[in-house]
Protein backbone atom coordinates (compact mmCIF):
# COMPACT_ATOMS: atom_id res chain seq x y z
CA UNK A 1 0.00 0.00 0.00
CA UNK A 2 2.82 2.39 0.89
CA UNK A 3 4.48 1.53 -2.41
CA UNK A 4 1.30 2.51 -4.24
CA UNK A 5 1.09 5.76 -2.30
CA UNK A 6 4.69 6.69 -2.93
CA UNK A 7 4.37 5.82 -6.62
CA UNK A 8 1.24 7.96 -6.78
CA UNK A 9 3.08 10.77 -4.98
CA UNK A 10 5.99 10.69 -7.45
CA UNK A 11 3.68 10.38 -10.45
CA UNK A 12 1.55 13.30 -9.36
CA UNK A 13 4.65 15.43 -8.86
CA UNK A 14 5.87 14.48 -12.33
CA UNK A 15 2.53 15.36 -13.88
CA UNK A 16 2.17 18.65 -12.00
CA UNK A 17 5.70 19.71 -12.83
CA UNK A 18 4.75 19.67 -16.50
CA UNK A 19 7.56 17.28 -17.39
CA UNK A 20 4.99 14.86 -18.79
CA UNK A 21 4.57 17.24 -21.74
CA UNK A 22 7.77 15.74 -23.16
CA UNK A 23 6.26 12.24 -23.16
CA UNK A 24 3.01 13.51 -24.71
CA UNK A 25 4.81 15.48 -27.41
CA UNK A 26 7.06 12.51 -28.14
CA UNK A 27 4.00 10.26 -28.50
CA UNK A 28 2.33 12.72 -30.86
CA UNK A 29 5.50 13.08 -32.93
CA UNK A 30 5.94 9.32 -33.21
CA UNK A 31 2.38 9.04 -34.39
CA UNK A 32 2.69 11.94 -36.82
CA UNK A 33 6.01 10.79 -38.30
CA UNK A 34 5.80 6.99 -38.29
CA UNK A 35 2.28 5.80 -37.56
CA UNK A 36 -0.01 7.81 -39.81
CA UNK A 37 0.75 5.80 -42.93
CA UNK A 38 -1.15 2.60 -43.75
CA UNK A 39 0.47 -0.14 -41.67
CA UNK A 40 0.09 -3.62 -40.31
CA UNK A 41 0.49 -4.80 -36.73
CA UNK A 42 4.08 -5.92 -37.24
CA UNK A 43 5.10 -2.45 -38.38
CA UNK A 44 3.31 -0.90 -35.41
CA UNK A 45 5.18 -3.10 -32.93
CA UNK A 46 8.47 -2.50 -34.74
CA UNK A 47 8.06 1.24 -34.29
CA UNK A 48 6.88 1.18 -30.68
CA UNK A 49 9.46 -1.53 -29.89
CA UNK A 50 12.19 0.95 -30.80
CA UNK A 51 10.46 4.06 -29.43
CA UNK A 52 9.61 2.77 -25.96
CA UNK A 53 13.18 1.84 -24.94
CA UNK A 54 14.36 5.27 -26.04
CA UNK A 55 11.58 6.89 -24.06
CA UNK A 56 12.45 4.67 -21.08
CA UNK A 57 16.03 5.98 -21.16
CA UNK A 58 14.76 9.55 -20.97
CA UNK A 59 11.94 9.09 -18.47
CA UNK A 60 13.91 6.87 -16.11
CA UNK A 61 16.80 9.35 -16.11
CA UNK A 62 14.42 12.15 -15.13
CA UNK A 63 12.68 10.07 -12.46
CA UNK A 64 16.03 9.01 -10.98
CA UNK A 65 17.13 12.64 -10.86
CA UNK A 66 13.87 13.51 -9.08
CA UNK A 67 14.52 10.74 -6.59
CA UNK A 68 18.12 11.77 -6.06
CA UNK A 69 17.36 15.09 -4.34
CA UNK A 70 17.59 16.21 -0.70
CA UNK A 71 13.77 16.19 -0.64
CA UNK A 72 14.13 12.43 -0.40
CA UNK A 73 15.46 12.55 3.17
CA UNK A 74 12.09 13.53 4.60
CA UNK A 75 10.40 10.76 2.61
CA UNK A 76 12.88 8.04 3.51
CA UNK A 77 12.85 9.08 7.17
CA UNK A 78 9.21 8.01 7.31
CA UNK A 79 7.96 4.46 7.38
CA UNK A 80 8.35 3.63 3.71
CA UNK A 81 11.94 2.43 3.86
CA UNK A 82 14.56 2.33 1.16
CA UNK A 83 13.19 -0.59 -0.84
CA UNK A 84 9.80 1.04 -1.23
CA UNK A 85 11.46 4.32 -2.16
CA UNK A 86 13.46 2.65 -4.93
CA UNK A 87 10.58 0.53 -6.21
CA UNK A 88 8.37 3.62 -6.18
CA UNK A 89 10.79 5.37 -8.51
CA UNK A 90 10.87 2.32 -10.77
CA UNK A 91 7.08 2.04 -10.98
CA UNK A 92 6.77 5.78 -11.57
CA UNK A 93 8.98 5.60 -14.65
CA UNK A 94 7.43 2.35 -15.81
CA UNK A 95 3.91 3.78 -15.48
CA UNK A 96 4.88 6.91 -17.40
CA UNK A 97 6.40 4.98 -20.29
CA UNK A 98 3.62 2.42 -20.31
CA UNK A 99 1.10 5.26 -20.20
CA UNK A 100 2.76 6.96 -23.17
CA UNK A 101 2.70 3.67 -25.04
CA UNK A 102 -0.97 3.37 -24.12
CA UNK A 103 -1.58 6.87 -25.45
CA UNK A 104 0.07 5.99 -28.77
CA UNK A 105 -1.99 2.81 -28.95
CA UNK A 106 -5.23 4.72 -28.36
CA UNK A 107 -4.36 7.36 -30.96
CA UNK A 108 -3.49 4.65 -33.47
CA UNK A 109 -6.63 2.67 -32.69
CA UNK A 110 -8.79 5.76 -33.11
CA UNK A 111 -7.23 7.38 -36.15
CA UNK A 112 -5.23 4.79 -38.06
CA UNK A 113 -5.88 1.24 -36.87
CA UNK A 114 -3.45 -1.24 -38.45
CA UNK A 115 -4.81 -4.22 -40.32
CA UNK A 116 -5.26 -7.32 -38.13
CA UNK A 117 -5.01 -5.31 -34.90
CA UNK A 118 -7.45 -6.60 -32.36
CA UNK A 119 -7.30 -6.51 -28.57
CA UNK A 120 -5.76 -9.98 -28.27
CA UNK A 121 -3.05 -9.19 -30.82
CA UNK A 122 -2.33 -5.96 -29.04
CA UNK A 123 -2.07 -7.67 -25.67
CA UNK A 124 0.23 -10.39 -27.02
CA UNK A 125 2.59 -7.77 -28.43
CA UNK A 126 2.28 -5.47 -25.44
CA UNK A 127 3.20 -7.99 -22.76
CA UNK A 128 6.85 -8.59 -23.83
CA UNK A 129 7.14 -4.92 -24.68
CA UNK A 130 6.16 -3.81 -21.19
CA UNK A 131 8.54 -6.35 -19.68
CA UNK A 132 11.33 -4.93 -21.82
CA UNK A 133 10.48 -1.42 -20.64
CA UNK A 134 10.73 -2.72 -17.09
CA UNK A 135 14.05 -4.44 -17.79
CA UNK A 136 15.64 -1.31 -19.16
CA UNK A 137 14.22 0.84 -16.35
CA UNK A 138 15.51 -1.60 -13.72
CA UNK A 139 18.95 -1.69 -15.33
CA UNK A 140 19.10 2.11 -15.36
CA UNK A 141 18.03 2.21 -11.73
CA UNK A 142 20.75 -0.27 -10.81
CA UNK A 143 23.35 1.78 -12.68
CA UNK A 144 22.28 5.09 -11.21
CA UNK A 145 24.59 6.96 -8.79
CA UNK A 146 21.80 6.71 -6.24
CA UNK A 147 22.20 2.93 -6.05
CA UNK A 148 25.73 1.94 -6.98
CA UNK A 149 29.04 3.68 -6.34
CA UNK A 150 31.06 4.68 -9.37
CA UNK A 151 33.40 1.70 -9.30
CA UNK A 152 30.61 -0.83 -9.40
CA UNK A 153 28.77 1.08 -12.12
CA UNK A 154 31.84 1.10 -14.32
CA UNK A 155 32.36 -2.59 -13.68
CA UNK A 156 28.81 -3.50 -14.71
CA UNK A 157 28.96 -1.19 -17.72
CA UNK A 158 32.19 -2.88 -18.81
CA UNK A 159 30.45 -6.27 -18.56
CA UNK A 160 27.62 -4.98 -20.72
CA UNK A 161 30.13 -3.57 -23.20
CA UNK A 162 31.88 -6.94 -23.27
CA UNK A 163 28.58 -8.69 -23.90
CA UNK A 164 27.97 -6.43 -26.89
CA UNK A 165 31.57 -6.52 -28.04
CA UNK A 166 30.74 -9.06 -30.76
CA UNK A 167 29.22 -6.18 -32.71
CA UNK A 168 32.39 -4.15 -32.90
CA UNK A 169 35.22 -6.65 -32.39
CA UNK A 170 35.19 -8.91 -35.39
CA UNK A 171 36.82 -9.67 -38.70
CA UNK A 172 40.43 -8.59 -38.94
CA UNK A 173 40.54 -7.21 -35.44
CA UNK A 174 39.35 -10.49 -33.97
CA UNK A 175 41.75 -12.49 -36.11
CA UNK A 176 44.65 -10.34 -34.96
CA UNK A 177 44.07 -11.43 -31.40
CA UNK A 178 45.87 -14.49 -29.99
CA UNK A 179 43.78 -17.66 -30.07
CA UNK A 180 43.55 -17.84 -26.28
CA UNK A 181 42.24 -14.28 -26.08
CA UNK A 182 39.75 -14.97 -28.88
CA UNK A 183 38.46 -18.05 -27.06
CA UNK A 184 38.20 -16.13 -23.81
CA UNK A 185 36.40 -13.27 -25.54
CA UNK A 186 33.89 -15.61 -27.16
CA UNK A 187 33.27 -17.36 -23.87
CA UNK A 188 32.74 -14.05 -22.09
CA UNK A 189 30.47 -12.77 -24.85
CA UNK A 190 28.38 -15.93 -24.62
CA UNK A 191 28.29 -15.82 -20.84
CA UNK A 192 27.56 -12.14 -20.47
CA UNK A 193 25.27 -12.01 -23.50
CA UNK A 194 23.03 -14.62 -21.89
CA UNK A 195 21.05 -12.16 -19.78
CA UNK A 196 20.48 -10.01 -22.86
CA UNK A 197 18.75 -12.79 -24.78
CA UNK A 198 15.34 -12.42 -23.08
CA UNK A 199 15.31 -8.72 -23.91
CA UNK A 200 16.13 -9.24 -27.58
CA UNK A 201 13.79 -12.18 -27.90
CA UNK A 202 11.13 -10.14 -26.10
CA UNK A 203 11.37 -7.49 -28.79
CA UNK A 204 11.05 -10.18 -31.46
CA UNK A 205 8.09 -11.68 -29.64
CA UNK A 206 6.34 -8.31 -29.52
CA UNK A 207 6.79 -7.94 -33.26
CA UNK A 208 5.79 -11.48 -34.25
CA UNK A 209 3.35 -12.25 -31.41
CA UNK A 210 4.12 -15.89 -32.13
CA UNK A 211 3.25 -17.82 -29.00
CA UNK A 212 3.00 -21.19 -30.74
CA UNK A 213 6.11 -22.60 -29.07
CA UNK A 214 6.94 -22.99 -25.40
CA UNK A 215 9.96 -20.76 -25.99
CA UNK A 216 7.71 -17.71 -26.07
CA UNK A 217 6.26 -18.39 -22.64
CA UNK A 218 9.71 -19.37 -21.34
CA UNK A 219 11.01 -16.04 -22.58
CA UNK A 220 8.27 -14.11 -20.80
CA UNK A 221 9.26 -15.97 -17.67
CA UNK A 222 12.93 -15.19 -18.31
CA UNK A 223 12.14 -11.51 -18.85
CA UNK A 224 10.16 -11.40 -15.60
CA UNK A 225 12.91 -13.27 -13.73
CA UNK A 226 15.59 -10.96 -15.05
CA UNK A 227 13.50 -7.95 -14.12
CA UNK A 228 13.01 -9.21 -10.57
CA UNK A 229 16.73 -10.02 -10.31
CA UNK A 230 17.77 -6.56 -11.44
CA UNK A 231 15.34 -4.92 -9.03
CA UNK A 232 16.51 -7.23 -6.27
CA UNK A 233 20.13 -6.31 -6.92
CA UNK A 234 19.28 -2.62 -6.93
CA UNK A 235 17.37 -2.91 -3.64
CA UNK A 236 20.19 -4.93 -2.09
CA UNK A 237 22.83 -2.41 -3.12
CA UNK A 238 20.70 0.58 -2.12
CA UNK A 239 19.96 -0.88 1.30
CA UNK A 240 23.64 -1.30 2.08
CA UNK A 241 25.10 1.99 0.99
CA UNK A 242 25.24 5.34 2.68
CA UNK A 243 22.28 7.39 1.58
CA UNK A 244 23.67 10.69 0.37
CA UNK A 245 21.31 12.43 -2.01
CA UNK A 246 22.67 14.76 -4.61
CA UNK A 247 22.51 18.41 -3.55
CA UNK A 248 22.49 19.74 -7.13
Amino acid sequence: MRLLRFTGFSLLEYLRSGRVAIEIIAALLIYAIFLRRPMDVTYFFNVVGIFTPLLTLYTMAIVISLGDRPQGYVVVSRGIGRATFLLGLFFTAWTLVAGTYGLISVIVALFNPPTELDLLNWLLGTLPLLLNIGLLAALMLLLSPLVLPTGWRLFILSLIALAFSGNFIGGQLLNALPEAVRALLRALQALLGGPLVPAFYGFQLAVTRDYSSATALANLFAQASLLISLLGLAIYAFARRDLIFSTQ
Binding site: F9, L12, R69, P70, Q71, S77, G79, L243
Partner: protein, 354 residues
Protein backbone atom coordinates in the same frame (compact mmCIF):
# COMPACT_ATOMS: atom_id res chain seq x y z
CA UNK B 1 17.09 8.67 33.54
CA UNK B 2 16.13 6.46 30.57
CA UNK B 3 18.38 7.19 27.62
CA UNK B 4 16.46 8.06 24.47
CA UNK B 5 19.72 8.55 22.60
CA UNK B 6 22.57 6.28 23.60
CA UNK B 7 25.58 6.44 21.33
CA UNK B 8 28.79 4.65 22.15
CA UNK B 9 32.19 4.93 20.50
CA UNK B 10 30.83 6.05 17.13
CA UNK B 11 33.17 6.35 14.17
CA UNK B 12 32.37 7.58 10.68
CA UNK B 13 34.64 8.56 7.83
CA UNK B 14 34.01 9.65 4.26
CA UNK B 15 36.86 8.03 2.41
CA UNK B 16 40.01 9.24 4.11
CA UNK B 17 38.26 12.02 5.98
CA UNK B 18 37.35 11.07 9.53
CA UNK B 19 34.26 12.90 10.70
CA UNK B 20 33.31 11.14 13.90
CA UNK B 21 36.02 9.63 16.05
CA UNK B 22 34.70 7.75 19.02
CA UNK B 23 31.69 9.91 19.77
CA UNK B 24 29.71 9.15 22.91
CA UNK B 25 26.38 10.69 23.81
CA UNK B 26 23.48 10.04 26.12
CA UNK B 27 20.29 12.06 26.07
CA UNK B 28 17.52 11.29 28.51
CA UNK B 29 13.77 11.18 27.96
CA UNK B 30 12.16 14.60 27.73
CA UNK B 31 15.53 16.31 27.61
CA UNK B 32 16.43 18.97 25.08
CA UNK B 33 20.03 18.61 23.95
CA UNK B 34 21.80 21.11 21.73
CA UNK B 35 24.89 20.29 19.74
CA UNK B 36 27.22 23.08 18.72
CA UNK B 37 30.15 22.72 16.41
CA UNK B 38 31.95 24.37 13.54
CA UNK B 39 31.03 23.69 9.92
CA UNK B 40 32.08 20.21 8.94
CA UNK B 41 32.33 19.04 12.54
CA UNK B 42 29.94 16.18 11.78
CA UNK B 43 26.70 17.43 13.32
CA UNK B 44 24.53 16.61 10.31
CA UNK B 45 26.43 13.36 9.84
CA UNK B 46 25.50 12.40 13.37
CA UNK B 47 21.80 13.08 12.70
CA UNK B 48 21.95 11.12 9.43
CA UNK B 49 23.55 8.23 11.30
CA UNK B 50 20.74 8.32 13.86
CA UNK B 51 18.19 8.27 11.05
CA UNK B 52 19.87 5.28 9.42
CA UNK B 53 20.76 7.21 6.24
CA UNK B 54 24.42 6.53 6.94
CA UNK B 55 26.08 3.42 8.35
CA UNK B 56 28.59 3.80 11.15
CA UNK B 57 32.09 2.46 10.55
CA UNK B 58 32.28 1.45 14.20
CA UNK B 59 30.32 1.92 17.35
CA UNK B 60 26.70 1.67 18.29
CA UNK B 61 23.63 3.86 18.12
CA UNK B 62 20.64 3.01 20.28
CA UNK B 63 17.55 5.17 20.03
CA UNK B 64 14.53 4.68 22.27
CA UNK B 65 16.12 1.57 23.67
CA UNK B 66 16.94 -0.27 20.46
CA UNK B 67 19.79 -0.44 17.99
CA UNK B 68 17.40 -1.55 15.23
CA UNK B 69 16.74 1.93 13.96
CA UNK B 70 14.31 0.87 11.24
CA UNK B 71 11.95 -0.39 13.94
CA UNK B 72 11.54 2.97 15.61
CA UNK B 73 11.46 5.12 12.48
CA UNK B 74 7.91 6.28 13.16
CA UNK B 75 8.83 7.37 16.67
CA UNK B 76 11.50 9.73 15.41
CA UNK B 77 10.68 13.08 13.80
CA UNK B 78 13.23 14.80 11.58
CA UNK B 79 13.52 18.43 10.62
CA UNK B 80 16.19 18.75 7.92
CA UNK B 81 18.58 21.66 7.65
CA UNK B 82 17.50 22.85 4.26
CA UNK B 83 13.89 23.66 3.55
CA UNK B 84 13.66 21.38 0.55
CA UNK B 85 10.28 19.83 0.08
CA UNK B 86 8.20 18.69 -2.87
CA UNK B 87 6.99 22.02 -4.14
CA UNK B 88 4.32 20.67 -6.47
CA UNK B 89 2.03 20.01 -3.52
CA UNK B 90 0.03 22.15 -1.17
CA UNK B 91 0.95 21.99 2.52
CA UNK B 92 -2.10 19.89 3.30
CA UNK B 93 -1.52 17.46 0.41
CA UNK B 94 2.13 17.12 1.30
CA UNK B 95 1.47 16.35 4.95
CA UNK B 96 -1.25 13.87 4.00
CA UNK B 97 1.12 12.06 1.67
CA UNK B 98 3.83 11.96 4.33
CA UNK B 99 1.28 10.74 6.84
CA UNK B 100 0.20 7.98 4.49
CA UNK B 101 3.83 6.90 4.05
CA UNK B 102 3.93 6.49 7.81
CA UNK B 103 0.77 4.40 7.83
CA UNK B 104 -1.77 7.07 8.76
CA UNK B 105 -5.11 6.77 7.02
CA UNK B 106 -8.60 8.22 6.94
CA UNK B 107 -10.00 10.53 9.57
CA UNK B 108 -7.06 10.03 11.92
CA UNK B 109 -4.68 11.32 9.26
CA UNK B 110 -6.86 14.31 8.39
CA UNK B 111 -7.18 15.18 12.06
CA UNK B 112 -3.42 15.00 12.68
CA UNK B 113 -2.57 16.98 9.59
CA UNK B 114 -5.04 19.71 10.54
CA UNK B 115 -3.73 19.73 14.11
CA UNK B 116 -0.11 20.19 13.06
CA UNK B 117 -1.01 22.79 10.45
CA UNK B 118 -2.80 24.72 13.18
CA UNK B 119 0.14 24.38 15.56
CA UNK B 120 2.55 25.90 13.07
CA UNK B 121 0.06 28.54 11.94
CA UNK B 122 -0.33 27.36 8.37
CA UNK B 123 -4.04 26.51 8.39
CA UNK B 124 -4.99 29.50 6.29
CA UNK B 125 -2.44 28.74 3.60
CA UNK B 126 -2.76 24.96 3.83
CA UNK B 127 -4.09 24.65 0.29
CA UNK B 128 -1.46 26.85 -1.31
CA UNK B 129 1.36 25.26 -3.27
CA UNK B 130 4.62 25.03 -1.35
CA UNK B 131 6.32 26.78 -4.26
CA UNK B 132 4.63 29.99 -3.09
CA UNK B 133 5.81 29.64 0.53
CA UNK B 134 8.50 31.81 2.12
CA UNK B 135 11.49 30.15 3.79
CA UNK B 136 9.95 30.76 7.18
CA UNK B 137 6.69 29.12 6.14
CA UNK B 138 8.59 26.16 4.71
CA UNK B 139 10.44 25.75 7.97
CA UNK B 140 7.15 25.79 9.85
CA UNK B 141 5.89 23.13 7.45
CA UNK B 142 9.06 21.20 8.24
CA UNK B 143 8.22 21.33 11.93
CA UNK B 144 4.68 20.17 11.18
CA UNK B 145 5.90 17.16 9.20
CA UNK B 146 8.40 16.29 11.90
CA UNK B 147 5.63 16.29 14.50
CA UNK B 148 3.10 14.47 12.38
CA UNK B 149 3.52 11.08 14.01
CA UNK B 150 3.77 12.61 17.48
CA UNK B 151 7.33 11.30 17.80
CA UNK B 152 9.14 10.54 21.04
CA UNK B 153 12.36 11.95 19.64
CA UNK B 154 12.81 14.99 17.44
CA UNK B 155 16.04 15.42 15.48
CA UNK B 156 16.43 19.01 14.38
CA UNK B 157 19.19 20.15 12.06
CA UNK B 158 19.96 23.88 11.98
CA UNK B 159 16.34 25.01 12.44
CA UNK B 160 16.85 28.69 11.66
CA UNK B 161 19.49 28.37 8.97
CA UNK B 162 18.83 30.82 6.15
CA UNK B 163 15.88 32.53 7.85
CA UNK B 164 15.51 36.25 8.40
CA UNK B 165 15.31 37.51 12.02
CA UNK B 166 11.49 37.35 12.01
CA UNK B 167 11.54 33.82 10.67
CA UNK B 168 14.16 32.82 13.23
CA UNK B 169 12.05 34.26 16.04
CA UNK B 170 8.95 32.41 14.80
CA UNK B 171 10.75 29.10 14.55
CA UNK B 172 12.33 29.42 17.99
CA UNK B 173 8.96 30.33 19.52
CA UNK B 174 7.40 27.38 17.76
CA UNK B 175 10.08 24.98 18.95
CA UNK B 176 9.60 26.30 22.46
CA UNK B 177 5.93 25.35 22.16
CA UNK B 178 6.97 21.95 20.88
CA UNK B 179 9.16 21.49 23.97
CA UNK B 180 6.05 21.68 26.13
CA UNK B 181 4.87 18.43 24.53
CA UNK B 182 7.66 16.54 26.28
CA UNK B 183 9.35 15.25 23.17
CA UNK B 184 13.04 14.57 23.53
CA UNK B 185 14.80 17.15 21.38
CA UNK B 186 18.17 16.82 19.72
CA UNK B 187 19.17 20.04 18.04
CA UNK B 188 22.21 20.85 15.90
CA UNK B 189 22.95 24.50 15.43
CA UNK B 190 25.50 27.23 14.93
CA UNK B 191 23.58 29.73 16.97
CA UNK B 192 24.25 30.12 20.67
CA UNK B 193 20.92 31.85 21.32
CA UNK B 194 19.06 28.78 20.06
CA UNK B 195 20.86 26.68 22.63
CA UNK B 196 20.16 29.31 25.25
CA UNK B 197 16.44 29.37 24.53
CA UNK B 198 15.70 25.81 23.54
CA UNK B 199 18.05 23.42 25.31
CA UNK B 200 18.55 21.91 28.75
CA UNK B 201 22.03 20.72 27.91
CA UNK B 202 24.66 21.68 25.38
CA UNK B 203 27.43 19.65 23.83
CA UNK B 204 30.28 21.08 21.82
CA UNK B 205 31.68 19.02 19.05
CA UNK B 206 35.33 19.05 18.17
CA UNK B 207 37.73 16.52 16.70
CA UNK B 208 34.89 14.16 15.85
CA UNK B 209 33.65 13.88 19.42
CA UNK B 210 31.58 15.78 21.90
CA UNK B 211 34.40 17.54 23.66
CA UNK B 212 32.36 19.18 26.36
CA UNK B 213 28.86 18.97 27.82
CA UNK B 214 27.20 21.40 30.17
CA UNK B 215 23.79 22.09 31.58
CA UNK B 216 22.57 25.30 30.00
CA UNK B 217 21.21 26.45 33.37
CA UNK B 218 24.74 26.26 34.77
CA UNK B 219 25.90 28.65 32.06
CA UNK B 220 23.11 31.12 32.56
CA UNK B 221 24.58 32.81 35.64
CA UNK B 222 25.99 36.28 35.74
CA UNK B 223 28.14 37.08 32.73
CA UNK B 224 31.73 38.16 33.06
CA UNK B 225 31.40 41.37 31.14
CA UNK B 226 28.42 43.73 30.80
CA UNK B 227 27.71 47.19 29.46
CA UNK B 228 25.22 49.57 31.03
CA UNK B 229 23.94 52.33 28.76
CA UNK B 230 22.84 55.37 30.68
CA UNK B 231 21.69 58.96 30.29
CA UNK B 232 22.77 61.89 32.41
CA UNK B 233 25.98 60.44 33.87
CA UNK B 234 28.26 63.21 35.17
CA UNK B 235 32.03 63.18 35.76
CA UNK B 236 31.38 62.93 39.50
CA UNK B 237 29.34 59.80 39.03
CA UNK B 238 32.07 58.34 36.85
CA UNK B 239 34.61 58.99 39.58
CA UNK B 240 32.34 57.36 42.14
CA UNK B 241 32.02 54.34 39.91
CA UNK B 242 35.78 54.02 39.46
CA UNK B 243 36.20 53.77 43.19
CA UNK B 244 34.09 50.58 43.19
CA UNK B 245 36.78 48.53 41.52
CA UNK B 246 39.37 48.33 38.75
CA UNK B 247 37.07 46.47 36.35
CA UNK B 248 34.79 49.46 35.75
CA UNK B 249 35.30 51.55 32.63
CA UNK B 250 33.21 54.56 31.74
CA UNK B 251 33.00 55.49 28.08
CA UNK B 252 30.72 58.47 27.40
CA UNK B 253 27.26 57.48 28.54
CA UNK B 254 28.04 53.83 29.06
CA UNK B 255 29.64 51.83 31.82
CA UNK B 256 31.47 48.61 31.08
CA UNK B 257 32.06 46.14 33.89
CA UNK B 258 34.64 43.47 33.25
CA UNK B 259 35.40 40.79 35.84
CA UNK B 260 31.78 41.15 36.80
CA UNK B 261 30.21 39.75 39.95
CA UNK B 262 26.69 40.03 41.35
CA UNK B 263 27.94 42.29 44.14
CA UNK B 264 29.87 44.60 41.80
CA UNK B 265 27.01 44.83 39.36
CA UNK B 266 24.58 45.66 42.17
CA UNK B 267 26.97 48.33 43.53
CA UNK B 268 27.29 49.99 40.12
CA UNK B 269 23.55 50.02 39.59
CA UNK B 270 22.95 51.39 43.09
CA UNK B 271 25.47 54.19 42.51
CA UNK B 272 23.82 55.09 39.21
CA UNK B 273 20.34 55.08 40.68
CA UNK B 274 21.38 57.08 43.72
CA UNK B 275 22.80 59.73 41.38
CA UNK B 276 19.50 59.82 39.44
CA UNK B 277 21.19 58.55 36.28
CA UNK B 278 18.70 57.06 33.81
CA UNK B 279 19.55 53.44 33.04
CA UNK B 280 18.65 52.70 29.43
CA UNK B 281 19.95 49.22 28.99
CA UNK B 282 22.08 46.53 30.58
CA UNK B 283 23.59 44.21 28.02
CA UNK B 284 25.94 41.27 28.38
CA UNK B 285 29.09 41.70 26.32
CA UNK B 286 29.63 37.99 26.01
CA UNK B 287 27.55 34.87 25.81
CA UNK B 288 28.69 32.19 28.27
CA UNK B 289 27.78 29.50 25.77
CA UNK B 290 29.79 31.28 23.10
CA UNK B 291 32.72 31.59 25.47
CA UNK B 292 32.55 27.90 26.30
CA UNK B 293 32.33 27.11 22.59
CA UNK B 294 35.30 29.25 21.65
CA UNK B 295 37.39 27.96 24.53
CA UNK B 296 36.57 24.39 23.59
CA UNK B 297 37.36 24.85 19.93
CA UNK B 298 40.55 26.70 20.81
CA UNK B 299 41.56 24.05 23.32
CA UNK B 300 41.02 21.21 20.90
CA UNK B 301 43.34 22.80 18.37
CA UNK B 302 46.33 21.59 20.34
CA UNK B 303 49.38 19.99 18.76
CA UNK B 304 48.77 16.48 17.52
CA UNK B 305 48.93 13.83 20.19
CA UNK B 306 47.52 16.20 22.82
CA UNK B 307 43.76 16.19 22.99
CA UNK B 308 41.29 17.83 25.27
CA UNK B 309 38.23 16.30 26.69
CA UNK B 310 36.37 18.93 28.61
CA UNK B 311 34.19 17.57 31.33
CA UNK B 312 32.56 14.84 29.33
CA UNK B 313 30.40 12.53 31.39
CA UNK B 314 30.90 14.59 34.49
CA UNK B 315 29.67 17.91 35.73
CA UNK B 316 33.09 19.35 36.30
CA UNK B 317 33.67 22.83 34.97
CA UNK B 318 37.35 22.00 34.59
CA UNK B 319 38.80 20.99 31.27
CA UNK B 320 40.57 17.68 31.23
CA UNK B 321 43.55 17.13 29.03
CA UNK B 322 44.65 13.71 27.99
CA UNK B 323 47.58 12.61 25.95
CA UNK B 324 45.85 9.54 24.59
CA UNK B 325 45.19 9.26 20.82
CA UNK B 326 41.58 10.20 19.96
CA UNK B 327 40.53 6.67 19.08
CA UNK B 328 41.47 5.56 22.57
CA UNK B 329 39.75 8.26 24.56
CA UNK B 330 36.29 7.20 23.57
CA UNK B 331 35.22 5.46 26.73
CA UNK B 332 33.95 7.53 29.64
CA UNK B 333 36.40 5.80 31.98
CA UNK B 334 39.36 6.94 29.93
CA UNK B 335 37.94 10.40 29.58
CA UNK B 336 37.87 10.65 33.35
CA UNK B 337 41.66 10.94 33.47
CA UNK B 338 42.65 14.33 34.81
CA UNK B 339 45.83 16.32 34.92
CA UNK B 340 45.76 19.60 36.84
CA UNK B 341 49.06 20.73 35.39
CA UNK B 342 47.89 20.30 31.87
CA UNK B 343 44.63 21.96 32.81
CA UNK B 344 46.61 24.96 33.92
CA UNK B 345 48.55 24.96 30.69
CA UNK B 346 45.35 24.80 28.75
CA UNK B 347 43.93 27.78 30.58
CA UNK B 348 46.98 29.87 29.88
CA UNK B 349 47.21 28.80 26.29
CA UNK B 350 50.57 27.12 26.74
CA UNK B 351 50.61 23.76 25.07
CA UNK B 352 54.22 22.65 25.13
CA UNK B 353 54.73 18.98 25.51
CA UNK B 354 55.82 18.79 29.15
Amino acid sequence: MTAVIDIANLYKAYGDVSVLQGLNLRVGAGESFGLLGPNGAGKSTLIHLMLGFLRPDRGQIALLGTTRLEQIRLRVGYLPERQRYHMAYSAREYLRFLGSFSGLTGAAMHERVDRELALVGLTEVADRRLATFSKGMLQRLGIAQALLMDPDLLLIDEPTSGLDPTGQREVIDLLNEVRQRNHTLFLCTHYMHEIDQLCDRVGIMANGRIAVERKVADLQGIVNSVRIKVQGMTAQVQEALHTLGPGIHCEGQSVRISQNSPRLQAAVLRTLLDANVVILMLEPLENPIERLYLETIQATKLPSGLHTSLGMFNNSQRPILTRTPPEKVASPERQGERDPLLHELLQTGKTEDK
